[in-house]
């Protein structure tokens, strides 16, 4: 299974490599040089590498949460808004702790809990609309994303604006005692790495070795039979949404406490949407989520220098990511057709 997925990703990579090269040639850029810039911009130095890791962390966290919703057959497109609300709840908690350096760690801990709650709340609204109101979770999620963005901007330009001036650059930077501290050499707060590792392990255990994981899979595979087995699809859908929202909220928290140290309008940086692609490309496999997220993070960071060095738009990374996912989805579709054909033959 995992070998097949890896092989498919390999084929997709080759196809996308050829396609991207074509795009580069057509736009008149030297392909080799562009790839070099991408590589050096992401893995060329320790500093660059740590920047990639900083992107990898929220991608992986969102990916973990999305595994729960995908498992039960939900498209939690609202993950983007859940990241934003997680960041809002974090900021709210940290603002309360401002000016009291002696108990700052307490507020950081509280902000972690608040972000999980906030993200879960936001996802819970979509889940509630889905299970009680019959609203498709994609539409509910998309709508809530806009609402979250609105809330975020209103806070930054309204109640939480910097003294004297409201600015796109976000709220006032928090005092350093409210930051997750990173050793100078490592450049990444060790706590964030711990949180991601814990998230990956917890997700893997929950999905593979507990009733929750099995029941999510059962309902995702056949909601109408699940009832016969005494399962409650609505409750489990809500639970999956809460998990997804919780992880996304956590990602929002780390964006504030470990990366920007303030609330900015682009706090979620589209990492939620990107995580949807990561999980799809990983074929909903927990083992592949971390490496695929790393690859995507590398592309994101690596493409930052493209405009400066090659006068190429940095959206090249988006082209590659989008093409990759399309290629993978195409391969999944192809495999399903082939499988169906074989099964149809066998059933005769």
């Amino acid at each position: 299974m995992i070998v097949r997925t890896l092989r498919e990703i390999g084929v997709a990579l080759v196809v996308v490599f050829l396609f991207t090269t074509l795009v580069l040639v057509v736009s008149g850029a030297p392909p080799l040089q562009a790839y070099m810039v991408l590589f050096q911009g992401s893995l060329g130095s320790w500093v660059k590498f740590t920047q990639v890791i900083k992107v990898w962390i929220p991608l992986t966290l969102c990916g973990c949460g999305l595994l729960f919703t995908f498992r039960i057959g939900l498209w939690n497109i609202g993950v983007e808004g859940q990241v934003m609300i997680g960041a809002v709840f974090t900021t709210w908690m940290l603002r309360a702790g401002g000016g009291r350096p002696e108990i700052a760690p307490l507020f950081i801990a509280a902000s972690l809990a608040a972000s999980v709650l906030g993200g879960a709340l936001w996802a819970g609204i979509a889940g509630f609309l889905k299970t009680k109101g019959g609203v498709n979770e994609i539409f509910a999620g998309l709508g809530l994303n806009f609402v979250a963005q609105g809330v975020l901007l209103w806070l930054i330009f309204g109640p939480w604006k910097q003294p004297g001036v409201a600015s796109m650059s976000g709220t006032e930077t928090f005092p350093t005692e409210l930051w997750l501290q990173a050793p100078a050499l490592l450049r990444i707060p060790p706590l964030t790495l711990g949180i991601v590792t814990a998230a990956l392990i917890a997700t893997g255990l929950l999905l593979r070795h507990t009733r929750i994981g099995l029941e999510l899979k059962a309902i995702g595979s056949n909601p109408s039979a699940a009832f016969l087995y005494g399962l409650r699809p609505s409750a489990l859908m809500l639970l999956a949404m809460l998990f997804a929202g919780g992880f996304a909220g956590l990602a929002g928290n780390l964006q504030v406490t470990a990366v920007y140290h303030r609330l900015i309008p682009a706090i979620s940086s589209n990492y939620g949407y990107l995580a949807l692609l990561v999980v799809m490309l990983a074929n909903y496999n927990i083992w592949l989520v971390a490496p695929v997220a790393f690859f995507f993070a590398g592309l994101n960071v690596g493409s930052i220098q493209l405009p400066m060095l090659l006068q190429l738009d940095s959206s090249l990374s988006g082209v590659i990511q989008g093409a990759l996912v399309l290629a993978t989805l195409g391969m999944h579709g192809w495999r399903r057709i082939r499988l169906n054909r074989e099964q149809a033959k066998q059933r005769l």
Binding site: H209, R211, N222, A225, F227, G230, Q343, L348
Partner: protein, 490 residues
């Protein structure tokens, strides 16, 4: 048109679905193809219809070898197949579906097509409303539509795969008449079935397949014993009704009404006693499915009371019924009963209620292996349920039942099973009923009901219009009730 199939082989890896089949159909002949599940009859028919490519062998039409790669090409040679599940567009109207089958013309002359449809339908006595959406039709009516569509495009060889499954006896009669007429017009008809009775009443000749080979062929008059021997090697024993129990009241329904299905359920009052086997007869969708779902709590009644062991059931949720020992097995095994994509092991883990949090997959795999052995399921613990055959899926569902349930509610429990599996299933179910379990089951086959049930309830239009002991029932009497000829309820 004369069709000869010569040395047809179809191999799937090591599996030989067809292993050198020779079969000939003469013009004007109704040719029955018999065989148990997996004998290779469907494969053979799908090869003839162009749906499946053969590994080797040749198809000879009127003395001329032909080669085609798709159903469309087979169509051009005049060969068409009526599939078990009609291939139509449910949201569109009858006449639109009819038009879609017609070849050629870009512009549609609706009036002309409708008139043509009406003439054809009338000539067969098919009562189809041309403007009705197809998803409002019964299986039998959809089959009639499909048949008309095939005929209007001028086919000469008609293949039917289990055409009498799920249709009413009136529709069956119409179908028989239509097929006899087609044969009279010189068309060849191939009828695949596992129902001996169908084949014996209709066919001029039968061929029996077993394990991918033709084991024999016979012309009218048929010797049932001989045919069974060709199908199974030896005559399978038929399950018999167990002795009539005199148990206490178990499930009581009083004036229960509910919506759902084609006609809902109206004013249903019934008493089911312990150890009783009750057969629900009637046209498909006459209220039996609503009755079963109400009895197990999958549906709530709009009116009336349901009592289980003398206690009024208020909290009708399926879990509650399961707790007190009522179990339901739906007919749509892969749609409602099992979870495609999950393995046998995972199904057992899902039902292990002793473990609220962690799942012990090793233990579940052992449990799966035990059930597989006890219920003679052809599969492995790690086999996904959708890979099992229908018979094995049913065995698996039965293996999920606890050792001593109080009430079993079974919706068409032998649907699509071959005779051997049917016997096995009933043998197993009767061992439950000997221990005091009540069994309520629906079935479109009156024979099956009369063979195993103590009591027959006949449903018509959402009402129970007949309730008699099976020993006192005559087929004619029940048949009349099924067709809606009202009688006094005893």
């Amino acid at each position: 048109m004369r069709v000869d199939l010569v040395d047809i082989r179809k191999h799937y890896g090591f599996v030989k679905a067809n292993d050198g089949v020779n079969l000939s159909v003469a013009p004007g002949e109704i040719h029955g193809v018999l065989g148990e599940n997996g004998a290779g009859k469907s494969t053979l028919m799908k090869i003839l219809s162009g749906f499946t490519a053969r590994t080797s062998g040749s198809i000879v039409v009127d003395g001329r070898p032909v080669d085609y790669r798709s159903t469309a090409e087979a169509f051009r040679f005049g060969i068409g197949m009526l599939y078990q599940d009609p291939l139509d567009f449910p949201q569109m109207t009858v006449v639109d579906n009819f038009v879609l089958g017609q070849s050629g013309e870009v512009s549609l002359r609706r009036d002309a097509v409708q008139a043509c449809f009406q003439t054809l339908a009338d000539s067969f006595n098919f009562q189809l409303n041309p403007e009705a959406p197809v998803d409002s039709l019964t299986v039998g009516e959809r089959q009639q539509l499909e048949l008309l569509r095939l005929l209007s495009s001028g086919i000469q060889v008609l293949i039917l795969d289990e055409p009498t499954t799920g249709i009413s006896s009136a529709q069956k009669e119409l179908l028989y008449t239509a097929l006899r007429r087609l044969a009279g017009e010189g068309k060849s008809v191939l009828l695949v079935s596992h129902k001996l009775e169908d084949v014996e009443t209709l066919c001029d000749r039968v061929s029996v397949l077993r394990l991918g080979r033709v084991t024999g062929s016979m012309v009218r008059p048929f010797d049932t014993e001989e045919i069974l021997k060709m199908m199974f090697g030896a005559r399978p024993h038929t399950p018999m009704r167990s002795a009539q129990p005199a148990g206490s009241e178990m499930l009581v329904m009083q004036q229960v009404s509910s919506s759902g299905g084609r006609c809902g359920l109206v004013d249903c009052s019934v008493v089911i006693r312990a150890g009783e086997v009750v057969g629900l007869a009637g046209l498909e969708g006459s209220g039996q499915e609503v009755f079963l779902r109400l009895a197990c709590g999958l549906k709530r009644p709009q009116k009336g009371a349901i009592r289980f062991f003398g206690r009024t059931v208020l909290n009708n949720k399926y879990n509650y019924f399961k707790l007190i020992g009522a179990y339901f097995l739906p007919t749509a095994r892969l749609e409602e009963g099992l979870i495609p994509g999950l393995t046998i092991t995972e199904h057992l883990a899902l039902q292990d209620e002793r473990r609220p949090f962690r799942v012990d997959y090793a233990e579940a795999a052992e449990a799966a292996a035990r059930r597989i052995a006890n219920f003679r399921i052809k599969g492995l613990p790690q086999t996904s349920v959708e890979e099992l055959s229908g018979g094995n899926q049913q065995r698996l569902l039965l293996s999920f039942l606890p050792p001593k349930p109080h009430l079993l509610l079974l919706e068409n429990p032998t649907r699509g099973l071959d005779l051997e599996s049917v016997n096995w299933v009933w043998g197993h179910l009767q061992s439950f009923s000997r221990n005091g379990t009540s069994i309520v089951f629906s079935s479109p086959e009156l024979d099956e009901i009369l063979m195993v049930a103590h009591r027959v309830l006949v449903f018509f239009n959402g009402r129970i219009i007949m309730d008699i002991p099976a020993s006192a029932a005559s087929v004619q009497e029940i048949g009349r009730a099924i067709a809606g000829k009202q009688q006094t309820t005893s």
